[in-house]
Symmetry: C2
Subunit: 333 residues, 2 copies
């Protein structure tokens, strides 16, 4: 990429926006100008980038003049309002919200899985939900081998998926409870310290949460296969960073754990951490701040030779959000 891009980050002061800035720098993305955009609350804030300090600008309708690439991570409402304006101004938008993910003319991309969908965009490319990204990175190579029929997944999701204040709430509540006190829950519907909460996002009529139906619908779209069934239970756990998933994957053909390990070991974006004799398996404390999707505990369902169990962990802010968005941008070529 000889070309350099004028890049805007919308939601630059949020957790994902901060990771985007860091990852653009780490990966030496060809940035001509970096424009940090946020709400009026962050006006005047200065953030480091390549040894300089950039001043955060207030997002408005004129923010995208001259911008060629806009990375959005400021919630669905902001994306719905400003992504079309950015496209109008000539930018390609990579949107981390759920606003456009299921739109037919918006590609939903995990570069390790469906890079061929990137060029199909009409201005907007959607970044999938964090818990979906790591699951499809690990399952797509096996789908190609044996054809995925059904996935039953239970998640163990870190609090940073819920934004900046969530980490503070976990820390404050933990300190308080260790002293025998209690703190009111504000970010989460209940106390998250030393608890687990089976509730991420609003519930729909069928009793599933939006977080759970995202896993179902986004997996089908990214894999390009409407026949894959995904049934999810999404659970918040008192972990700062990193999402873990216990996955039961049923295929059309007989599946083999050793072959799964071999194939995944040479698949892009995956690292196998699977040596149970030495107590080696992925964990969120190890995945935090790292870039890959870590897969372990791969074993055959003893009652079905077409099914495997596996344990999938990744950093929800990096591969689950900011890194995947930057990788999409790199794929624009």
């Amino acid at each position: 990429m000889a070309k350099q891009y004028n890049v805007a980050v919308v939601g630059a002061t949020g957790m994902v926006g901060m990771a985007m800035r860091q990852i653009l720098e780490e990966r030496d993305f060809p940035v001509a100008e970096l424009r940090l955009l946020a709400s009026v609350r962050s006006r005047g804030k200065r953030l480091p980038y390549r040894g300089e300090e950039l001043e955060v600008q207030v997002l408005d309708e004129d923010s995208f003049q001259g911008i060629e690439l806009a990375l959005f991570s400021a919630g669905g409402g902001i994306s719905r309002q400003f992504a079309p304006i950015a496209v109008q101004a000539g930018a390609v938008v990579i949107d981390n919200s759920s606003a456009f993910r299921m739109d037919e003319d918006v590609p939903l991309v995990v570069p390790e899985v469906n890079p061929e969908d990137i060029p199909k965009h009409r201005g907007i490319i959607a970044n999938p939900n964090c818990s979906t990204i790591q699951m499809v990175v690990a399952l797509a190579p096996l789908h190609r081998l044996w054809r995925l029929r059904k996935v039953i997944v239970s998640t163990y999701q870190g609090v940073t998926g819920a934004g900046l204040e969530a980490g503070g709430e976990l820390a404050d509540q933990s300190f308080a409870m260790l002293r025998g006190e209690r703190r009111r829950a504000e970010v989460f519907p209940h106390t998250i310290a030393f608890n687990v909460i089976p509730h991420i996002g609003p519930f729909d009529q069928t009793g599933f949460t939006v977080e759970e139906t995202k896993l179902t619908n986004e997996t089908k779209k990214i894999m390009g296969d409407e026949t894959i069934m995904v049934v999810a239970t999404a659970v918040r756990v008192p972990v700062f960073r990193g999402h873990s998933e216990a996955v039961h994957a049923e295929f059309d053909l007989v599946a083999d754990p050793a072959l799964a390990r071999d194939v995944l070991a040479s698949s892009p974006g995956v690292e196998i951490v699977d040596d149970v004799g030495r107590a080696r398996y992925p964990m969120p404390l190890d995945a935090a701040g790292r870039d890959l999707t870590y897969v372990g505990r791969i074993r055959r369902d003893p009652s079905c030779d077409r099914a495997l169990c596996m344990w999938i962990v990744s950093d929800n802010l990096r591969k689950g959000a900011a890194l995947n968005a930057v990788q999409i941008a790199e794929g624009l070529g």
Copy 2:
């Protein structure tokens, strides 16, 4: 029960042993003499019971003279060595270890599920594993309705399942990490504070842990049906007390969430907590110190009308261990 029993608690200073003593008192179990037995490390320790202080005695071969009921919770090795001695001395043993659970002539009992197996004992009755007990309490009534075919379960297990030191390790590590420090893991194979560990008990050749195969084998034995398939992933989470389970249950017949709720609401030992519109579902912080198995998030698998998802929570020290043992004793009648 007009009769009064001479009762021994083996492992009286452990977490389950302490809960046993508390539950015998709470439920007004007809105790003539209570003999608290433990290892030499606890010699001379005094523990309260019904307003008195009882001195802990060192377990030896003569400990069971005159004892009619012996509640064991001191690990498999102690049970294997001393349960036969207690039986020889005329006691009925209710054993919380895994030593005898799969023995053909030892009943494995959850009183809400298979009370009819209690009288079949030849001196020893086994108490199932904590994660199995709460699952079968919730699934047995549905098995009777629709016949259970396959269960896929992911657990979220509190640390007190690993003994007295485990709670201290979680607290110490949490404090340290909140101050930016680290503490060595001693009870668990890795840091448990702000982490999740997909490893409970040793691994077998198939890649499953003993905790996971217990869920499979014990469920079949308690339900009296070798055809039920159970595939488990057992995960330790940074919760002090209470185990949670995300369960996908497939039946032979079409299953209905509303009927499941009705049937479970009137089933022994179950409380339905399932009002997602008001953010009501079971959580370990709410279940800790309570006696029932709490069930919520009941919903149909959208891809299979014979399958339900549900979320099952209970206190692992009470229903998962001490309470179930005392309920078995009450059933001896």
